[in-house]
């Protein structure tokens, strides 16, 4: 039993050793193929990784919805307080925070450039604002938009703005990006599959004699095809490893930029990037699976 297993493993080891020796014999060709596979895997992997890291922006995110209700300028303090209470009592409102014109002014003064500019005005140009947190039934469209319109129509209110209009736009953009990236990934997967299928095809063409002789000596299908599967596996694992490392490096760089970009929107939505060995594991697995599938594709019809 153990002896049989040992012999079986022996034969695999020999096939693998033969494959590696063959690849080493033509280092340039092997390196070119390996790089081709690596690039074809890295491109969609980087795109998928960036998509993953912006995942917090996808429709399942739970950033709280807000409505900023701007009151008409020069509204008296008492009237501001009364409007605050009225808004708090409106259906769909969970919480309010009243920010008077003076408080707004003070906040702005702390920002140097704008503060200097404000000095040009004789009186405070800033309106008072009521920050509204909607309740659970109104924190998403269309309930949110309904509530926003209701607040806008109150007497003394200048306009009401939801903070998630841009978030919704971003959601739409990201949904589009996600579709595009998945299409890209499928396309590049097909590229890897076909490249390996073509490479194995030309390999079998040039080793036709060897395959025939092995068959004449009583080798079965599996034995004859084994070296080609190992060749494909080597390309897949090697290319996948390279692609994984490239992707890990590229995403680390892109993540920095992504964070900067998102901080412009006043938020930190970027998820932590994947742990790099996990990226390598994924690309290596995908590479191996695709390459072996490609080999299978081209060996499928081989009859000896």
């Amino acid at each position: 039993m153990f002896a049989t297993l040992r012999l079986y493993l022996d034969s695999h080891q020999m096939a693998l050793a033969g494959t590696l020796a063959r690849l080493a014999k033509a280092p340039l060709a092997s390196a070119l193929t390996l790089s081709l596979i690596a690039v074809a895997l890295a491109l969609p992997a980087i795109a998928l990784s960036v998509l993953h890291n912006t995942g917090a922006l996808l429709p399942d995110h739970s950033s709280p919805a807000r409505i900023s209700v701007y009151l008409k300028p020069q509204t008296a303090a008492a009237e501001v307080r009364r409007l605050g209470e009225e808004i708090a009592a409106t259906e769909g409102v969970a919480q309010v925070a009243v920010i008077s014109a003076e408080e707004s002014l003070r906040a702005f003064r702390e920002q140097r450039d704008i503060g200097d500019m404000l000095a040009l005005f004789e009186s405070n140009p800033l309106p008072a604002v009521v920050e509204v947190t909607p309740d659970a039934q109104h924190d998403r469209a269309p309930g949110l938009n309904l509530l926003s319109a209701r607040l806008h129509n109150l007497n003394g209110v200048d306009r009401a703005e939801t903070n998630i209009a841009w978030l919704q736009r971003l959601d739409a953009i990201i949904a589009l990006a996600r579709t595009a990236v998945h299409l890209l990934a499928a396309l590049f997967a097909a590229v890897v599959l076909l490249v390996i299928a073509a490479i194995i095809r030309s390999e079998t063409e040039s080793r036709r004699d060897e395959m025939e002789i092995l068959a004449l000596l009583g080798a079965g299908d599996a034995f004859i095809k084994r070296p080609f599967f190992y060749t494909a596996l080597c390309y897949g694992l090697g290319g996948g490893l390279l692609a994984g490392l490239t992707t890990a490096l590229a995403t680390a760089i892109i993540d920095d930029h992504l964070r900067q970009l998102l901080s412009l929107y006043g938020s930190d939505f970027a998820r932590d990037g994947m742990f790099w060995p996990r990226i390598v594991l994924y690309t290596t697995g995908a590479g191996a699976a695709l390459c072996v599938a490609g080999a299978w594709l081209s060996l499928r019809k081989e009859k000896l």
Partner: protein, 219 residues
């Protein structure tokens, strides 16, 4: 051991073998002779299921091999040692690896394989040439590598197609004696050759083919 029953083989309408009835007994040794194109190679190839007959049956060790499933053919071939007319060696690897191929296919252990390969090379007088590439050997030496590869697995049946085609008379004799020796050890042996002088001396059964028909020795 080997029986051909009304075997017909055609290549593109041309009849290579016509209604061949032939029986080779267990442990028997026989020569097949005939002019070039008489069908000697085709006959041997039918026995190893390299060619399939158009009509008739071929029995090997009691089984009708014309009915074998594709997946069964490798097992048949592993019991047969075949010396090919054109050697069919692999020139991308040394002599040792060439001779070891049937053992690798059969799944022999490495130590055991090493022993058997050296024993086989010793028998054909090529011990010490294991590490050479067959391309660097003479035609006669390549022929003998092919013979070593055919016998390394201790086959049930040995089929040799012109195994002395490239050898001088003395070496031819040695090789034929080697086949006789194998045969004495119990291997059913069938050798295609047109070296009538040598065949006559050895005194085994001689089957003669003429234009795809048996012309003698069929009984």
């Amino acid at each position: 051991m080997i029986q051909l029953h009304k075997v017909v083989k055609r290549f593109r309408g041309e009849t290579a073998l016509a209604e061949i009835n032939l029986e080779i007994g267990d442990g028997e040794m026989a020569f097949i002779t005939g002019h070039s194109g008489a069908g000697k190679s085709t006959l041997l190839r039918l026995i190893a299921a390299i060619e399939r007959p158009d009509f008739g049956q071929v029995f090997v060790n009691g089984r009708d091999i014309t009915r074998l499933a594709r997946a069964q053919i490798p097992y048949l071939r592993r019991r047969i040692g075949f010396v090919f007319q054109n050697h069919r060696l692999l020139f991308d690897r040394p002599v040792f690896d060439n001779v070891a191929l049937p053992l690798r296919i059969g799944g022999a252990g490495r130590v055991e394989a090493g022993k058997r390969v050296r024993a086989a090379l010793d028998k054909v007088g090529l011990l010490g040439k294991e590490a050479l590439n067959p391309a660097s050997l003479s035609a006669g030496q390549q022929q003998r590598v092919g013979i070593a590869r055919a016998i390394v697995n201790r086959p049930l049946i040995l089929l040799a197609d012109e195994p002395t085609g490239n050898l001088d008379p003395e070496l031819s004799r040695e090789i034929m004696n080697l086949f006789s020796e194998f045969n004495r050890a119990g291997t059913t042996t069938l050798v295609a050759s047109h070296d009538l002088a040598l065949i006559g001396v050895l005194g085994h059964r001689v089957v003669t083919l003429h234009e795809g028909r048996l012309a003698g020795g069929a009984e």
